[in-house]
């Protein structure tokens, strides 16, 4: 027990925030498309592709920021395909999302070998380093946790209130919510449900892309096969746990990020638990939380249903 609590130090909390960030990006994205009535289980594959393309972008431009940009771009592009298939062609959204995941796994491991070669797959590329906020980072305990992070951590945290305001205090938020709840009603007041859904899905893909690029450029500094490791799916659970609310997303992602950090720290501290069990921890927690809150939460009424005029 003592060993357990001994891991709860500043490093642990700092790691929690860092591990929360990619999840938070993806979860905010998931909230956006689900609120608009489109389900995207392809977040996992989207993040994976963005992690890869981010690495390429950073390598060939020599800039981590450009890498991030390409990651966001590819995220938006993949989501655009999902939007086309599920909104315009009205195909099954689960199937389309599953296809993105499957293609993501295969295509990314293929491309990394083609582009960097078999021997040099795990080439370290230009990446993000934590930035220390002057003075604030010197505060004991709080300083290293909050003010010595990657800039993307701050971006993700800032996105929470921004998205909250957009969703609940602007007409765009009303539009997005209305096409997810009752697209026919939105159409009668002049909102274009198809276009609104497209925008929400593409933005959500861009957010997942940022999350994926952060995983490779902020954490690993290279690309590894299947490196997203289910975070896209955890984000889907976090969307439900968050009750489609950005503030809830922050809480949910902190819990999952904390579980992840704990798992790493536990391994490092050499707890007498097989490391496979440690690795399972965040996923088991996800299941447990879904069992507890999942059944009771009610999502957007028109989720998963294609909209067709008249």
């Amino acid at each position: 027990m003592e060993a357990f609590f001994s891991v709860l130090d500043a490093d642990f909390f700092s790691a929690t925030l860092r591990l929360t960030t990619p999840l938070l990006f993806a979860t905010l994205g998931g909230i956006l498309n689900e609120r608009a009535g489109v389900i995207n289980i392809g977040l996992e594959g989207t993040m994976l592709m963005a992690a890869l393309i981010g690495v390429f972008g950073a390598w060939f431009s020599g800039s981590a920021w450009f890498g991030l940009f390409t990651g966001i771009l590819i995220g938006g592009l993949i989501a655009w395909i999902h939007a086309f298939v599920s909104i315009s062609l009205k195909a099954n959204q689960i199937v389309s999302g599953a296809a993105i995941n499957l293609i993501g796994v295969g295509l990314s491991s293929f491309l990394i070998r083609i582009v960097f070669g078999l021997k040099d797959q795990q080439r370290v590329v230009p990446h993000f380093e934590p930035v220390s906020v002057p003075y604030l980072s010197d505060i004991p305990l709080i300083g290293p946790i909050l003010f010595q992070q990657h800039s993307l951590v701050y971006v993700a945290l800032l996105l929470v209130p921004i998205m909250w305001v957009i969703l609940f205090r602007t007409r765009w938020g009303l539009m997005i919510t209305s096409v997810g709840e009752h697209p026919e009603a939105s159409a009668t007041v002049g909102i274009n449900p198809l276009r609104t859904r497209y925008i929400a899905v593409i933005l959500s893909g861009a957010l997942a892309g940022a999350g994926g690029a952060f995983l490779s450029l902020g954490q690993l500094h290279f690309f590894q096969d299947e490196m997203v490791a289910g975070r896209g799916f955890i984000a889907l659970a976090a969307v439900i746990f968050a009750r489609w609310n950005p503030v809830g997303a922050l809480i949910a992602c902190l819990i999952f990020g904390g579980a992840d950090a704990l798992q790493f720290r536990g391994q490092a501290a050499g707890l007498a638990v097989p490391h496979q069990f440690m690795l399972m921890f965040p996923y088991v927690l996800t299941l447990a939380i879904l069992v507890v809150v999942g059944g009771k939460s009610q999502g957007p009424a028109a989720i998963g249903q294609p909209y067709s005029k008249g």
């Binding site: 205090r169 009603a185 009668t188 008249g310």
Partner: protein, 508 residues
Amino acid sequence: MSLLRMEEITKRFPGVVANDQVDLVLEEGEIHALLGENGSGKSTLMNMLYGIYRPDAGRILLRDKEVQFSSPTDAISAGIGMVHQHFMLVPTMTVTENVILGLKEQKGRWNPLLDTRGAEKRINALAEQYGLDIEPNARVWQLPVGAQQRVEILKSLYRNAEILVLDEPTAVLAPKEVEHLIEVLRNLARSGKSIIFISHKLNEVIQLADRVSVLRNGVLSGQVDVADATASQLAEMMVGRQVETPKKKPRKSGETILTTANLVVKDDRSLIAVDDLTFDLAKGEIFGVAGVDGNGQKELTEAIAGVRSIESGNLEISGLSKSRGKRFREIGHVTEDRHQTGVVLPFSLWENYALKVCGTPPYGNWLNMNTGVMQEQTRAAIDQFSIKATGPDVAMSTLSGGNQQKVVLARELALDPKLLLAAQPTRGLDVGAAEYVHERLLSARDSGMAIMLISTELEEVLALSDRIMVMYEGKSMGLVDASQASREMLGLMMAGVSLENIENGMSQ
């Protein structure tokens, strides 16, 4: 110059001419009623005015200027508002949010925050001006139907509607709410707004409208000033014959089939919806359950039908099979919301018919569906109930509201159930069809069926029932013999005054 002229409007659907050269003129400040049998083309005509459909031929003129609407947005910006049969509101949003949805109500040109405060002010001002009782901060799902309808009206007014179209606005309202609506519509007309409303209730039409247009089979069959018309004349114009109120034969006594004792049932939100009900129902009886919508009637019927579990108390139905599957077929269940629970809209008529009957001979058995028989029976039902449809193969969604209702009734009566739960069986039916359904219910009763009639319409309950129970907030306000009941008494009970209190004269 008239405000609106629709000239020689024609609209065809595959196999039907829904509107055939229809003319309609609307003056400023006029309340115009649109009458007609089920499927005569009323909703279609209004949907063209609102830009949902485009006419195949004919012109629409607003203040003598021809207009063409390709979407509701066009119609809205031309000053036309419509309150649909099925409300177009987002249940999870507040009243204010619904009203300003899609509008650019932001705090400033460069400040994208919603100006909810300003919107609320305008909503309150409009509500006050026209006497609309509304709570801007309430979430729509929490509101009773009448209030939701007021939100719809407000939505149109907020968008500066000059012409307001209401499709069967009173079908879902309680008597009190109807009065409120009539008051509101009068206020609107007085301040220069023009109103077209569709209704099957002739007394309302006479009470409210200035002029009436009657459609029959898609053709305009008459236009009269209401001052010159009586209800029976209007009925005759609609259905082409005299309509009579049903005659009830004295009741034969039968054995009890349904008994409940201290029954408690919860609703979807786990709140108590049926609170301590004790009553029984016998064969050959029509047991009327009156009350404003949403006072537990739905949960009560669902509990009896076996699709909702009971919380406590007793519910016993005798003389039915033990098998759950067979039981379902021995109880007829006409649900109150046909779109949600009554029909599958994309299915054909016979497939909708099949949903209930498919496992029972002669319609089929446990393995096999006898599609031929089902189609044949559906065709027979189309004749019997005079359902306006080209055949059993057309999709349910292409039928008019009233005709969908008739299909449900035909299906639920098809297996000659021992117990029939009929919720709002004539909602949306024209007077002729309602008369036919009333006759069917009475003859089923006379041949020994036990019928529970759930209705918000006092006339219907009084005319058909043998005994009447009034529900208010899940409780029974009292159980009376129909011969001893009066409109006033039932009205009081529906408002929550118990029978005891009425009899003791304590209602003041």
